[in-house]
Symmetry: C2
Subunit: 401 residues, 2 copies
């Protein structure tokens, strides 16, 4: 379905891509201690029962329940090691004991005897305050689901099951290639005609957040041979290649042609802005994405196009961002309408009546204001509320966890 822009939508681009490409399934065994943030490639089951045999579920003393058959016994003459032993939470104790009295109900006497509180909790029957074998975890029980990204709690669950190594999906290796005659490296004072490469640092960390192993190449000049060489090197080293800008420079649509030349072109241009100029192809079976140069456009290309590709390597669904309802403070002016989805950065203002959404267009505000705006809203290709006072749902970009 052609839109009046003549470009496919983001969804159409991705659908076509995934019709033509499937992520290789690659797993590797890593130590659980090193597996934070990795994604399980198979279900994981406990190797042990916990407790291995049994454990006290309270700090207290292990006793013989039979001694309590007729009520609270007179225990001032009890002997440690004969009538009772110490058994704190998690402790096992000798077979002849079968119940635990919590320490709050116990006074330990100088002579080794015991006095129990008159209102002690009970009844002290076999198994009282004793966690039986396998109650915390049963050998063979599921403790890690394929596709889980391992959080601290999930690492604890694997540890409880004595699972010291796990199979996880290999991280895809992503290379980001910054291009442009005007670019200088951060740390260099930009002179007239120059600008600091701001996208490499952003892209590497975005790619890492997505779950890739990421690095950036040195800046490549707008030179056909240099760009082709950088792409060849990246194709040899990486699973995903992202080329930044340098696309329609010098010779028009050069990079698009390079991708089409070496492999299969999936898309050239998308009906979404900022970031309309882009190209996506498959070369040597590997995704090659050319994202636009301006920082916000580059972010958008990484976010909507590269992120699902990284997720596919890890067989992960896309992350769900927190949404808040907000009232538009001003109409959205950036592009949009029938021709393009406008990807609008939103500054959220908390008011007593709820959130106010200030659209940050890179046309009338500093680029950095857009980058620092913590909300995202995408207009649709069909008419929808974009006027001041309309209520929209804003994605929260930056989430602490």
């Amino acid at each position: 379905m052609k839109k009046s822009s003549g470009y496919p939508t983001r969804a159409e681009v991705l659908d076509k891509f995934f019709d033509n490409w499937a992520a290789p399934k690659r797993a590797e065994l890593v130590a659980t201690a090193e597996a934070y943030g990795r994604v399980l490639s198979e279900d994981v089951f406990s190797l042990v029962d916990k407790p291995v045999f049994r454990a006290s579920s309270m700090d207290g003393i292990a006793v013989k329940a039979a001694a309590f058959a007729n009520g609270i016994p007179s225990a001032e003459g009890w002997k440690l090691g004969t009538d009772y032993v110490r058994a704190d939470t998690g402790d096992d104790f000798p077979d002849e004991y079968d119940a635990v009295v919590q320490i709050e109900d116990v006074t330990l006497l100088e002579n080794g005897g015991v006095r129990f509180a008159e209102d002690m909790e009970g009844p002290i029957v076999p198994g009282w305050n004793v966690t039986p074998q396998g109650a915390n975890i049963r050998k063979g029980a599921l403790i890690g689901r394929r596709g889980t990204k391992l959080s601290p709690c999930e690492l604890a669950a694997l540890s409880i099951g004595a699972v010291s190594s796990v199979n996880v999906f290999k991280k895809p290796v992503a290379v980001f290639i910054p291009t442009g005659n005007e670019l200088v490296t951060l740390g260099t004072e930009p002179r007239r005609g120059q600008a600091v490469d701001s996208n490499s640092l952003m892209a590497v960390h975005l790619l890492r957040e997505m779950g890739a192993e990421a690095s950036a190449y040195p800046i490549v000049k707008d030179d056909k041979a240099a760009l082709a060489a950088a792409l060849d090197r990246a194709l040899a080293e990486a699973d995903i290649v992202v080329i930044n800008a340098g696309t329609s420079k010098g010779e028009e649509d050069y990079c698009h042609a390079l991708i089409a030349d070496k492999g299969t072109q999936i898309a050239h241009g998308v009906a979404a802005a900022p970031g309309k100029p882009m190209a996506l192809g498959i070369v040597n079976g590997k995704p090659v994405i050319n994202v636009a140069g301006p920082p916000v456009a580059c972010f958008n290309g990484l976010d909507w196009c590269v992120r699902p590709i990284v997720s596919a390597f890890l067989e992960r669904p896309l992350p769900v961002r927190r949404k808040v309802k907000a009232k538009l403070a001003e109409a959205i002016s950036a592009g949009g309408g029938e021709r393009f989805e406008a990807i609008v950065r939103i500054e959220l203002e908390e008011t007593p009546e709820g959130y106010l959404a200030h659209p940050v267009s890179h046309r009338n505000r500093h680029t950095t204001d857009a980058l620092l705006a913590g909300g995202l809203y995408v207009t649709k290709l069909v008419p929808e509320p974009n006027g001041a006072g309309d209520t929209i749902e804003v994605d929260i970009l930056s989430i602490d966890n």
Copy 2:
């Protein structure tokens, strides 16, 4: 205000702590390239204008606007370098040119001449498609706010402003001390009476997620001298000391006494469970927190008590977790009521009618089920909906970003 449990609430514990302790203010200069995830300790301003002078805002050719004063000129005899130059997005160009025609409206002829599209966009006036000096960022403009945790986009904003190093809060150094005679290290097969230390790996990664520099000590046996030595070493090396379990074992309330002995006791026990047994004190001006041993209780102590302390070092508000409304599938049975806040892990089930909340009590389910449950709900000390079919608001613990 005493509750019937006799223990202070979590909020009361923290209020008392922060009445008696303030985080030291410590910043350090780090390279922007290494500052991902760090927290700015001061506002940051752009060191440069971008563009430094001006830049084309389109891929195209730079022209002299005067040539368009009487409409589209006949340009087939134009010469590159005399009548026009190439000027792609971001490029500056010689002073004699003052406007840019987008490449889509231009045909470059073999002889160096140019043909313009009849319906070309315009009017081509001075400054057309030219981004003036400082339009993207103005020297001195705010590009990083004190207290910001640096995300990929924020690193890009700093780069645009040519800021290659930033002052950030020093990460507090946190040490986690696992204790218990029954503990063995992950990788060791637990025998009767033993259990794998699952909390160190969880705690280290939770502390890192909070923003601390974290490490775990080797397991310390339930031995007064060994524990005191470990605490002394930790106080010498760390800003925050977390002691896990070993608290009321052997001698009752030993660790509590150790903290009180060496410094100021803030709390001993809290009206929230799992995790009621805990102690908090200040020793040598440093927070020392003794969290309960069972994994879920340990998580809770780290989450409600240690997290705000780490945040204080970084002058950060507590992270806001995503909440979803959910209907309780079963009544919450775990403790709670008037005496304790029950900190309940929730398994969320998506249904056509919305979320169903399954409370996971560590009493009737595997410990690992609680650890793997992705939701959290805390009952209040006043009567509130805890019955099956009641609607509650559940915090989502694991967030992808």
